[in-house]
Subunit: 331 residues, 2 copies
């Protein structure tokens, strides 16, 4: 646990130091966010805030997790998690970069984003499927039952991977929202990693490395929130949200805890779900809307809730759900 | 740990439900805060926000901690903590009530507040001093050394008690500031309580009850922040900040961890210290100020930092210090 705490503190300190270095640099390179035309009117004032701030937490999280990882025996789990985070993060980086260079709100086309995402998701699913310590089973939370999906595991996990990464992206719509909610998710995964390591001494170092990585993410995100909390001085950009989605998926992939996602990552889940419902309803009714705006956080905002209040609400619901999910792992 | 998590969730749920019941009631009774004339100009808009919101977390914290407490053997530690929280909270309640009834910014005179505080502090110090499981020693953090103050313990603890309670009150100057920072303090004390209970099986139920109480406070404050985060719909008032100060002091009193306060409660500490420095400097220089305004959080605000940014900064510094203090209690 001391090692975990030091990881959190180190990642936090690094991102805190990175912020004032990266933010002016992003501003100078004109990495200002071109605010999405279809967002709420009140967001127009956010025009010009630099994006790609995800680098502020991504780099410290990678450095801290590698520096503090247990490398006495196996290193595979950390490797899978890092590949997932970096793979998806890279797609986001390319997307952000194109947005900035061409000065338009949309970077890569949906198809240009989706294809590399599917490729990475396929690779990760196969890697997990054939990994002797992961395989095709998912743990059912609270029941401690293993649910073996067989070869079906591969398409299911691909869907979950791509879905989660894009949900993290959709959640990134208000200052501090995606960063804060995922901070609690990673803190939870860190504690779960420690609990699983205690219960599985054979695979302890692998599982502790998941805890170390999650702790590094939580610490780095804490430092990032210093700059991203309302009023944000920097946005995480697609590089940030895809990295978060990939990182979170990596941790649940290796721990077989994907079924925990609808609980701890409910905020991401409802963002996607509200978007899909809005779209389907709009199509079915030829133009009617069920939410004032999707994803759901914009609906709350347009219903008259201040942005900061929506974020607080998402935070405390997430913390509560994370506490509930911890009930399945502690005595 | 499961019991602790359930306590947090129960207190959280209760305060979440209490909020919408108490806020309109406080408004109807005209418990609007008369904003302190000497505060920053930008705070004028806060006029009319109901105060005494501390009841939103104080009542659920008391109920949840009593409901979930281990009463298989000793109950003393929880009793001391509850007396401390309720004793100081009551002074705050009287102060708030007078403010509201007389429609003036200052309630009780400083002397009228200080005398009952000193009386409660004396009672608690004597109780702890003569308690067979507490006594006149303080634990020095990280060194695991006991520092026996002898009879000197009584005046020292009286000073620390009165000082901390008033520091909590001074910290309560920005939306979500005192509630959030102390939430992290209580979460830390909950984890420390669990760690101490594991290390002292003879006194486990007493120490676990400290954890239960701290967890109840953390959960209840989380619910309270739903209403108190920027832009606040309710202020905690003196009843809230004195209750928090008394509750926190109760937990460190029974665990002999008062020396941890400058670390986990640094935010409170610097609030008092900046006030004292400002006053001393003002007197010594016949009218010069060292801070733009004291306590320190107003100085940051007047230096151009948005209110929400100051609060985030205080939060992340507090979390980091809490993590550091946990290093002394985990393997």
């Amino acid at each position: 646990m001391q090692r975990l705490i030091w990881t959190i503190i180190a990642a936090f300190a690094m991102s805190l130091v990175f912020g004032p270095i990266i933010v002016p640099w992003l501003k100078k390179l004109k990495f200002g966010q071109t605010i999405y035309d279809l967002g709420p009117q009140s967001h127009k004032k956010k025009q010009g805030t630099p994006t790609m701030g995800g680098l502020i937490f991504a780099i410290p999280a990678i450095i801290a997790s590698i520096a503090f990882a247990y490398n006495d025996s196996r290193f595979d789990f950390l490797l899978i998690v890092l590949v997932s985070a970096l793979g998806f993060g890279l797609i986001g980086f390319v997307d952000d970069f194109i947005k900035v260079k061409l000065h338009r709100s949309l970077g890569l086309t949906p198809k240009q984003k989706l294809i590399p995402q599917i490729v990475i998701a396929l690779g990760l699913s196969l890697w997990a499927y054939f990994h002797p310590l992961i395989g095709s089973s998912l743990t059912v939370p609270f029941l401690n039952v293993e649910w073996d999906l067989g070869w079906f595991y591969i398409p299911v996990m691909m869907f979950v991977l791509v879905g989660t990464v894009n949900s993290a992206n959709l959640l990134d719509g208000l200052d501090g929202l995606c960063g804060g909610c995922s901070l609690f998710d990673f803190a939870t995964m860190a504690l779960i990693g420690v609990a699983l390591a205690a219960a599985n001494p054979d695979n302890a170092s692998n599982l502790l490395n998941v805890a170390i990585f999650s702790g590094a993410m939580a610490g780095a995100l804490m430092g990032f929130l210093r700059y991203n909390s309302y009023p944000a001085r920097v946005f995480m950009g697609d590089v940030g949200s895809f990295f978060i989605g990939g990182a979170l998926m990596g941790t649940v992939l290796v721990t077989r805890l994907s079924l925990l996602l609808p609980i701890i990552a409910l905020a991401m889940f409802v963002s996607s779900l509200s978007d899909i419902i809005q779209f389907a309803y709009f199509r079915a009714t030829h133009g009617k809307r069920i939410f004032k705006m999707a994803p759901l956080h914009h609906h709350f905002e347009l219903s008259g809730m201040p942005e900061t209040k929506v974020v607080t609400m998402y935070y405390i619901v997430t913390v509560c759900l994370c506490l509930i999910s911890l009930l399945g792992f502690v005595a």
